[in-house]
Symmetry: C2
Subunit: 684 residues, 2 copies
Amino acid sequence: MALEQSLAALSLATVTAESATPTKTLVFKPKTAKTAAPVPVVVFALQSTQTPSPHIASAAGVKEPRLAKEDLVQEFFSTTPKEFSVANLNKDLAGKIKIVIDESIFKGDENLVLELSTESAKAALPATTIVEFLKSTGIELIPVDFSAEVAAPAAAAPQKSKKDALKKEKEAAKLDDAKLIGITVDKAKDFSTWYSQVVVKGEMLDYYDVSGCYILRPNSYAVWEEIQNWFNERIKKMGVQNSYFPMFVSSRVLEKEKDHIEGFAPEVAWVTRAGSSELDEHIAIRPTSETVMYPYYSKWIRSHRDLPLKLNQWNSVVRWEFKHPQPFLRTREFLWQEGHTAHLTREAAAEEVDQILDLYSGIYEELLAVPVVKGRKTENEKFAGGDYTTTVEGFIAATGRGIQGATSHHLGTNFSKMFNISVENPDGSDKPRVFAFQNSWGLSTRVIGVMVMTHSDNRGLVLPPRVAQTQAVVIPVGLTSKTTDEARKAINDGAVDIEQRLRAINVRATGDYRDIYSPGWKFADSELKGIPIRLEFGPKDLKEEQVTVVRRDNNAKYVVKLADLESRIPEILEEMQKGLLEKARKDFDEHRVIVEEWKDFVPALNAKNVIVAPWCGVPECEDDIKDSSAKKDNGEDEEVDDKSPSMGAKSLCIPNEQRELKPGQKCVRCDKVAVNWCMFGRSY
Amino acid sequence: MALEQSLAALSLATVTAESATPTKTLVFKPKTAKTAAPVPVVVFALQSTQTPSPHIASAAGVKEPRLAKEDLVQEFFSTTPKEFSVANLNKDLAGKIKIVIDESIFKGDENLVLELSTESAKAALPATTIVEFLKSTGIELIPVDFSAEVAAPAAAAPQKSKKDALKKEKEAAKLDDAKLIGITVDKAKDFSTWYSQVVVKGEMLDYYDVSGCYILRPNSYAVWEEIQNWFNERIKKMGVQNSYFPMFVSSRVLEKEKDHIEGFAPEVAWVTRAGSSELDEHIAIRPTSETVMYPYYSKWIRSHRDLPLKLNQWNSVVRWEFKHPQPFLRTREFLWQEGHTAHLTREAAAEEVDQILDLYSGIYEELLAVPVVKGRKTENEKFAGGDYTTTVEGFIAATGRGIQGATSHHLGTNFSKMFNISVENPDGSDKPRVFAFQNSWGLSTRVIGVMVMTHSDNRGLVLPPRVAQTQAVVIPVGLTSKTTDEARKAINDGAVDIEQRLRAINVRATGDYRDIYSPGWKFADSELKGIPIRLEFGPKDLKEEQVTVVRRDNNAKYVVKLADLESRIPEILEEMQKGLLEKARKDFDEHRVIVEEWKDFVPALNAKNVIVAPWCGVPECEDDIKDSSAKKDNGEDEEVDDKSPSMGAKSLCIPNEQRELKPGQKCVRCDKVAVNWCMFGRSY
């Protein structure tokens, strides 16, 4: 039908009537029993109308509507929340969704012209035309006077106060002095919104059209390149070689190793079509490369002289998780390195596992200034296909949660037996063939998320100098309308000179000479983007032959004589690098608490700590700890987020550094004797 | 049925009877009319039986059977030719294929035990059991006495002599002195087999389970890393930043830009399923990233101060071509870099197009020692979405074919208008908005194939020193059974010392101290892998305090005093680097011939030249040149390969360096006046 088409076309139109009244279109997901299909509620209102969720709940007869996540919007409307408008609605949605419509629109004022806008397009249409269209879709249409008092529905009443409290919290999280370009919420009060703002406004990353995928912008990719250079240099010294294996695995090969693939199967993305041809055999995109690589290890390793074989690749893998994605931490495609090595002896393999773990610890501590605890995973948490898993574990102080940093696995001969990676016994061909001892180890772009969460603050990103794409920005200051052209030129020239001298000694420096922005705006901009130090150069500095240096992390000011520029600036950058690590280490140390009695366990967790406790080492006890430390909910489908510490504590690792156990010391949870200290925590 | 299962299981079994007689299983594809489905012929014979194709043709009643390509084997038998044996046959194939069986097997000698072998497995079974199994499948079984004279079928007679000639050529291509580990065919006589052997035996690459995908082993990936380092350093100086965009594009976005995607659509791989869930919207794997990136360019570029935006990424792209794949040159997944930049003015964009082309030329000439001709593509050959395309064109002397090296496109405002990448006019907001001028430029791992084809020889790879993973190998020589332990130790220590001194000055040196191999074997091994120089160190060298250096490319010998090691070795490496380029440039120069008259055009092509000719610049004339220079075939489905120069000549580029045209000079093909000199050639 013509009207429907014309409305659908609007999403690409760019006509805007000057006098049109802005509107908003929002999608809410009501609370639904786990087994029921959700019925989203679309709210269409004037931009100026407040649309509190109790009104929506009451009008639509639903419980606790909350803003729908991107997945749901994609599922129902095949578009992103940012691109969604009522123009996306159609007859097919009748019975599947409800529309709550602002009475101010619905009443049918003939002169009212509405502006429909999405992130990329705007269009203007008479309100009557839009209402007529909405009616034509057959979708249930519920007019609401949002200015009226809402009657709290009996069932939702106890929840209402909780939601109100949450809303108040969100309000309270707003920063009073937030600048237009900057972060608008408080890290301590609304961590997840803060994080999303920091990574996007800091230009680390942008959200992408395909849910769960993100764009790594230069500000984050440069960190990844620093990590690559650092790690490549060191693994090459260990004799590891880089290579590249295909991203595709045939279903036949992938499914050969059932136990291994079981964990990944629900998340594997399948290519079934090329051009317009259906493929005879479906082809998977690698979730990890064991099954891609090991058949060739079997082919290449013919003799003990072919060992060790040590290959690494820098690649992307795909795990189509259906859990809520999070920038850097949980993404459907992510970049990583995966090392896969084969050795003649278990000892040689085990030695390498530890060497790699040390390198991972080095990436966190030396490059990213993030402290980690080295340890070994429990049987429950280790890589299913391997003998044991070592790990570096980090800590996000703002949420009190642990986070797995990177893992280095010893696979034993489990895979080599499966893939027949074997050599003649060096002691003689009459002896049994020797299966190779294998390792695999990986570190992903998740590290960047951990770094951001650790150091950044309410003014934006804080980047450790060693990995910052730009380490220093030079900003001319003190120029006023009264400044003579000559003085202005002298200051600008001086700033450019400083910048160039820094670049000459390989400090990654830039200058901000844009006329249209004030120094204050430039300071805020460089803070948002995490540039480690700014160098202010003004009339006084010119006269005194100095420059004023301000550190991003703690606002410390240094006055540096120009003569000392080449010696002092690298020092200040290194001081900052060390300062970040020290501060983060103090946070981690203070929030890694010894707990010996179960009664202290959950309170310590709730106080945003991770816990080191004596433990019996029994998997069932670990499960019990997790269950018993979860805050029990009402059993409905509640997502776990940062504000809801309902998640139980997992074992994070058995730290390599073990304090002595008292004689006969009991497990923190059960009556058995403890065998070691284990680190537990809520985690990402 | 039990027998079938037991035979199927054989493909993984490793039991071998000592007395078993080796067999071979080959798959042939007969010549078939284009519209007909092929009926492969499986030939199962004793290893020792000669199975000439005329016998097969005659017995199976087919025309011109030739060894089937990997695709066909995969299609029918779901395995690779190397892993295929009669154990892969089953009832489902009845009516779809034919089996030609060696009479020596079929006659049913009860004592005959056969060995079935594939690359990864061997098994032994009585001949009678296998024949019984083959009969049970219901597949047409045709016994042939290969020792008998074959009656040439009338229809195939003229072809037969052609095939015989080809067979003779293949025979003649065999190298007389081929070593077991080395290349067994002559580059000049059977280029495609030679190429495949060189890349696989040189450990550049391995064939992979998914057709058209290949494994880049460290020996080739290291070349790619050198290219990355070289190129990154230079583009960063130009202000280009690296980044990473997702590999997925939603169908909605991909199909938004119809003209652009038209060329790629038949080759796009589609993800339609994740785990066991069908995706609501199918998601493409990027064949290139214009549609991935430009929506975000539109978002990020808000003001002229956001220009230029210069991003590059190193990634893999997927083009699911159905043409015959070729290592490095045509692969379904390949690595490349793609740069995408947006500028305020056409001039700024055009300048960058040329700068990048210079860098591409630098990668070929300075790193890979491969000469290229810089030029511009004709309208027919340019990137469809752009204003113009510049290119570096290489030349494969062994086949006389041109090869496109890398391209740098100026897109004009075609994409910026489509994706609304625009800024307010710097001259005032009353002036029309300015659409960004865009470029894109890309270089892929194809470069490695060009390098291999250019320099390598019948002893294996020849790697230019600047990109070789290993630049020098030290090999102890002259040790005999009479050598004293003391002398042996002195020589080995001396070799290790040489190796370490070279590494200390960043020469990528290694040593080959394996006892079990002779120096001759080690020489051949290092030659196969393309190591630029070998350093032989023996008793005489020890005494004279010298080392004997041999260049891989021309066997030139140098005696270098140990005292001069640090100065001479880098010089020798550089001499070799220059020598390779000079030789290849001479080849290219001698085979880039000026042709002014059409009568000389095809003869020059057939003499393995590319041609520079005066040309009118009219697209239809270009089409005519291509058609008229193709050797007309009999119209049946004949694949173009290196031995069959039936392919017409395409325009390769209009070289930047133009000689003057004579007044009124005519186009080489038509009666119009020539507007410039254009380079034409058969090409990859």
